[in-house]
Amino acid sequence: MYAYDQLDRALINERVDEFRDQVKRRLSGELTEDEFKMLRLQNGVYLQLHAYMFRVAIPYGTLSSRQLRRLAHVARRYDRGYGHFTTRQNIQFNWIKLAELPDALADLAEVGIHAMQTSGNNTRNVTSDQWAGVAPGEVEDPRIWSELLRQYTTLHPEFSFLPRKFKFAITASAHDRAAIKIHDIGLRLHKNAEGETGFEVLVGGGLGRTPFIAKTIKSFVHGHDLLSYVEAILRVYNQYGRRDNIYKARMKILVHELGIEKFAQEVEEEWQQMRGNSLTLDDGIIEEIRSRFTYPAYEKLPHMPDELKKAAHDAHFERWRKNSVALHKVQGYAIVTLSLKPVGGPPGDATADQMDAIADLADKYSFGEIRVGHEQNLALPHVARRDLPALWKALDKLGLATPNVNLVSDIIACPGLDYCSLANARSIPIAQELTRRFANHDIASLIGRLHINISGCINACGHHHVGHIGILGVEKNGEEFYQITIGGRADENAELGNLIGPAVPYAEVADVVEDIVEAYLALRVRPDELFVETVKRLGVEPFRERVYATR
């Protein structure tokens, strides 16, 4: 965990005071709605279909139990008793009252949580691997750099009015869990031949109506130069990004229109003029930030404790363990994913009671730490393997042990037309129906890894382009229709999915997905050929035939 010092605390308290003043000026009419809109967006407040929606940042997906309890408190006191975890390591509350927002922010500020820049045309929450610091084989903990970037991007005096929103993601593992290739700047931490830490920098990724996979702009930027290089990119974008058309304003369009070589040259010229300036991070500064991350005092524990051997006779436990428990870098410990995708539930939601209970379990079993992943699940990052049976029992009681992590019912979905004023179609009921169709664990397990992503409109908050199966809601003559893509992925081999054919009506979506899955089961050459691999090998055609032959 990163511990805020008095400077970090002072800044977020000052931000709360500023926002309180802005709300006051809006309520008194001193600010027009147009003027206030920008200001509230800079602090994570949207006006949705029914109410204001409030988005709170969980930087690089790390939460303490104390912070999670405070989120539960906000859900209970200011909202309707639940929150929704998003694909960018944020949590959203859907029913907040404008006049109470400053108090909610003040409550969160007490535990070092804020909503700065969780929306608006600025640099958004810096996201990272939810297994950062605990994944085996990781080069080093990317959160040190995430925190440096968090501070650097917070209330930046030059880049708070960009052409459009701007997102960073960082990974330090070979397997990318942070989806860095669909971000404006994706950073892959690695070491050069001299063993020095640096980053492969990728730019211009993003989804929305014109999706692009990010391209490498520089294969190694030294850690010392990270902030100056990032500033050079932001400056080029701030000056040359399009502002005439909101749909062409993301940096991906600038990178695409200039071409990556020309864009890289512009950035390089800018960077050469500022390299070595006051943004340079010397080792002392990096160490200073690193020193404020604390790590658990792990015990020396066996990989196969008696508790685990005994529990192995329980088929339900084993099913969950095989699905939701991952290897930890320290022997005797495990990373446990908590599925927020129960059968029939809206993906990514947690009740205030669940949040409190998870905080208690984190204190008991995970050194008080919780992680939030972009797949809209939570994780306990430091669980002793001997505690797994007891933890499982507790999670099962809370409805948080659905053994469907990375399986077909582990669906990413945006709030859709049930909440969102931009949506054309519903997302949540589609997800709920699919989880019912694939509720049988043996079948889901037979199918294997398969990500379904659902967006209720072209803005793609549900990342449909990079779902193994992507579902996009559109509106046709006042009715909800859905376009289906297959073959997308958001990992280190990120790709955009391909459309299988004409959009289908709401009532047929689940049937179509079942057809696609059946086709895959018939077409795969061996049980461990993943859905995306079969699609890669055969293309869209056999799936298209299967889906549309009888429609």
């Binding site: 010092d5 400077l7 970090d8 002072a10 800044l11 000052e14 005071d17 500023e18 802005q22 001193e30 003027e35 920008m38 200001l39 045309n121 501070q151 650097y152 917070t154 209330l155 930046h156 005096p157 030059e158 880049f159 708070s160 009015f161 960009l162 400056r235 701030n238 000056q239 502002r243 003029q273 500022m274 300036n277 006051s278 943004l279 002392g284 500064i285 200073e288 930030i289």
Partner: protein, 171 residues
């Protein structure tokens, strides 16, 4: 539209010259970029003080050679959402060493004052009188800054390093 300079509401000593009006040899004047570039050598050597209003989509290269002869550069925020002039301001101050008055014009509102100050602006044509009156309080709202800019405020990172060094010195 009130002008805030040195933190206070001030009378504007500069007059804006319309593009079709004659430019007198003396008096403090603000000239458009297009007009200025028709004859920059002569205009930048006027007897009176000269200011130029520079659009936010125009490269600074054409302006840079004359900076040390200009008394004022006005940058433009066509709407408060358009942040290009923040980059121009920092470049003028931090890269090209411009020391004259740098004025924010256009849709200049209270909640931008501190960003603008940090980017190097020292004069503000403020849209609403109430915002102009609130200037001094608004720019003092924050005590912590994460980024180094040309305004000289110490960043949080550097303050932490300094306090580490002083702790060590006291040991």
């Amino acid at each position: 539209m009130p002008l805030v300079k040195n933190g206070k509401i001030t009378d504007d000593v500069f007059a804006v010259v319309a593009d079709d009006a004659e430019i007198p040899e003396d008096g403090a004047l603000i000239i458009s970029a297009a007009r200025f570039l028709e004859n920059p050598e002569v205009l930048s050597r006027r007897v009176g003080r000269t200011g130029v209003i520079w659009p936010n989509n125009r490269d600074l290269d054409d302006l840079v050679p004359y900076l040390d002869r200009l008394a004022l550069v006005a940058l433009v925020f066509p709407t408060f959402r358009d942040g290009r002039a923040y980059s121009q301001a920092r470049l003028l101050r931090e890269r090209y060493g411009y020391h004259g008055e740098m004025r924010a014009t256009g849709q200049v509102l209270r909640d931008q004052f501190l960003f603008m100050t940090r980017a190097g602006f020292d004069a503000f044509e403020v849209k609403k009188p109430a915002d102009a009156e609130a200037f001094a309080g608004t720019v003092q709202r924050y005590s912590v800054f994460y980024q180094p800019t040309g305004d000289g405020r110490l960043t949080a990172l550097h303050r932490r390093m300094l306090s580490r060094h002083s702790e060590r010195a006291n040991q």
